[in-house]
Amino acid sequence: MEERLVVIGGGPAGISAAIAAAELGAPVTVIEKNAYLGGRPIEENYASLTPYLESAEEVMGRLIAQLTSFENVDVLTSSKVVGASRDHAPFELDVLTGSATSKVEAASVIIATGFTHFDPGRETQLYGYYEFPDVIALQDLEAMLKEGKVTRPSNGETPQRICFVQCVGSRDRQIGNEYCSKVCCGVASKEATEIKLLIPSAEVFIFYIDMRMYGYWENQIYWPAQEKHHVQYVKGIITEVLPKDGKLLVRGEDTTMGRPMEVLMDLVVLSVGMEASPGTRQMAALLGVKQNKYGFIEAANSPLDTVSTSVPGVYAVGAALGPSDLEDCASSGGLAAAKAVRDLHALA
């Protein structure tokens, strides 16, 4: 069996890594647990991608088409890596496809198993994600936006007052996620913009601790959301959500005014952060790769080598390394591909 470069995970980071490796002439196998490629954006029905608001399906579709056009790329969908050994090759992976198992020899492995959305049922506030139908999370709204119809789940009506609550599940010692999830400020601003485009009469608020718009996202997403689409940013996070007269009463402190605030909303969107996905945790364990306390894979030589792990020949990309936006996913994918192809040549 030919020694290949194996990418575990067919999301934006994994595909980017596979394409980059294929472009360098390496034979690549992509192993994807779903029956389709595309990762979170496809799995969670994202409407569009941040920051350019392009359709997730189109962008990912282009990427997938590019990937599958390479003759030296094999894609194994509905497949999981269930075992790994270093007996015969640098790596020998047991892959379960449906009920059939096979072995894939890999010169090096790129873990691209991504993240999972924080479960708002775990948050320490009283947002009532599972109690109130009109409290939803970013990805729930994405799915609605993809359908082109934002409604109140409770009654199907078009919401006129919508707010986002930032930092749900992030930056919270009590939950154990002290880190910032990086993308939620941008994603919330993007979704807020999309709501305004869909329902121009709606009033959309974003309650935040501080807006974390790094780099160009500031003027790509945040400023247009505020200046062109009239999204209202309010500094001060929501502490609790209560039902009131068929609506939701959000309560918190308006920190700039130094006064308590209580506002009625039709729809509350929790800007949930990122956590390490089960796949990331499992692959890390399987390959013996060191994880940080949050379950994400730890880059061994940060900051200037962001993709190498504690195990030589194993690389991690994208959100498997921690909260990451798409641009970071693509960048880390390319870097891991280059390093993995180098390993391949070294073996040859």
């Binding site: 400023w223 505020q226 009239h230 999204v231 209202q232 308006d254 700039t256 605030m261 209580e262 506002v263």
Partner: protein, 435 residues
């Protein structure tokens, strides 16, 4: 005895135990002790973008919404130092339900421009405020005293409500001949646009006379419009009366078209701003100079008969400095006067404090007395006095009377307020400034 005005009874009630109830949730908030000073609803419930939408619909009104709350504007806002103000606070207040169109907050801004200087989002209160004020004026929510100024300006062509025929009255005491174009319409180099306060205010008239003497001694070929002059009305525009400004402009243009001149020189930075920045937008372009810009290059020719012997501090007029970038000309003049030592205040040049007269503030002292802990001019005078200077030099006709009043009310009678033209004139004629 509270009579008139909108002065509120002092709202500070500190109760050992106090509870306020949310109108929305019915939840009770414990505000006992020091924080019980806001016993009316503490809870903010009125959040909306609609306030911005109404403002953004106005020409120049859209940028208020751009504020992202960085707060840079507040410490440089001259009004905030004597009240709760600043664009960030206005932005937040509008977001939490303030109807700016009907609010007293609308009239506090002096359009000094210091917020725009530092604003990363370019929230332009110099456009926002006049646009909103214009609507408020149409809706009839304009402070009494401002309404009267507008009526006087419309009726008489000057904000003081003086008989327009008395405009050239100041020339009688100048001691030099001042040509009035109506009676001698031959071409002239400098059209001296005297503006309201130099024409009519007794202290302004003294400065006008001083300036006429200086120009005469420098052999500047100049003339005035006399009774035909009307105010350029820039402050009326910024106070919200764009229509009045435009009406005045048409009349001004008609009068100017009658005469030949090379340049217009005015002592009023507000009029200067109108000629330099606003008139061209309507297609009327003139070579406009602030009087300090005319004098500065000619100073070497002045044969000073005496020496001023004084320490002087200079107040940059907002509309000369920040709005039009001229910081050097008045300083050059001051420093050229023999015996003068210039002491700068901490806030000067780009960051100069405002006298409170711009954007209609000149005519809102009564209104503002109910809103500000002290006048801006009073604060500025104390800054000037703190330099230890003998003279507070000014280069805007609004300021002599504003600062003289403030010097008295703050107990700084020892600080003399003088126009730079008066200072040059005194030294030129060898007089003693103390007499």
């Amino acid at each position: 005895m509270p009579v008139g005005g909108n002065k509120q009874a002092a709202g500070v009630t500190e109760l050992a135990e106090a509870i306020v109830t949310s109108p929305l949730s019915g939840r009770e908030w414990d505000v006992s002790g020091g924080s019980s000073r806001m016993l009316h609803s503490r809870v903010l419930t009125d959040y909306s973008a609609s306030g911005f939408a109404k403002i953004a619909a106005l020409e120049g009104g859209n940028s208020l919404e751009y504020c992202f709350g960085c707060g840079k504007c507040v410490p440089v806002c001259p009004v905030d130092l004597v009240s709760e103000y600043g664009p960030r606070k206005i932005h937040r207040a509008v977001q939490t339900g303030l109807d700016l169109f009907k609010s007293d907050e609308l009239w506090k801004c002096t359009t000094c421009g210091n917020c725009l200087r530092v604003c990363p989002k370019e929230v332009n209160m110099i456009e926002v405020m006049p646009a909103v004020r214009e609507v408020a004026m149409v809706e009839g929510t304009i402070p009494d005293e401002l309404q009267q100024i507008m009526e006087k300006t419309f009726r008489y062509g000057n904000a003081l409500g003086e008989n327009p025929r008395r405009r050239p009255a100041w020339t009688k005491g100048a001691g030099v001949d001042v040509r009035v174009l109506a009676s001698d319409p031959s071409p002239v180099d400098v059209l001296f646009y005297v503006e309201d306060y130099w024409s009519f205010h007794p202290r302004g008239q003294q400065a006008a006379q001083a300036f006429a003497r200086i120009m005469t001694s420098l052999n500047v070929d100049f003339a005035i419009l006399g009774a035909e002059e009307k105010t350029l009305g820039d402050s009326q525009r910024l106070a919200g009366e764009k229509g009045l400004f435009e009406a005045l402009m048409e009349e001004v243009i008609d009068v100017l078209a009658k005469y030949q001149f090379n340049r217009i020189v005015t002592p009023d930075p507000h009029g200067f701003n109108a000629l330099k920045k606003v008139y061209p937008k309507y297609g009327h372009t003139f070579e406009a100079l602030h009087y300090s810009q005319l004098l500065a290059p000619l100073l070497e020719q002045i044969d000073f008969q005496g020496s001023l012997e004084a320490t002087v501090t200079f107040h940059d007029p907002c509309y000369l400095g920040r709005h039009n970038g001229e910081y050097e000309a008045p300083r050059k003049i001051i420093e050229a006067i023999p015996g003068v030592k210039l002491l700068e205040m901490g806030r000067c040049r780009e960051n100069s404090y405002c006298c409170g007269g711009g954007g209609g503030g000149m005519w809102l002292d009564g209104f503002n007395a109910n809103h500000l802990s002290e006048r801006l001019s009073e604060r500025r005078v104390r800054e000037a006095a703190a330099t230890g200077a003998d003279i507070l030099a000014v280069a805007c006709p609004y300021e002599v009377s504003r600062f003289e009043d403030a010097a008295k009310s703050t107990g700084n009678e020892g600080l003399r307020v003088m126009d730079i033209a008066e200072m040059v004139d005194i030294a030129m004629r060898g007089e003693d400034w103390r007499s």
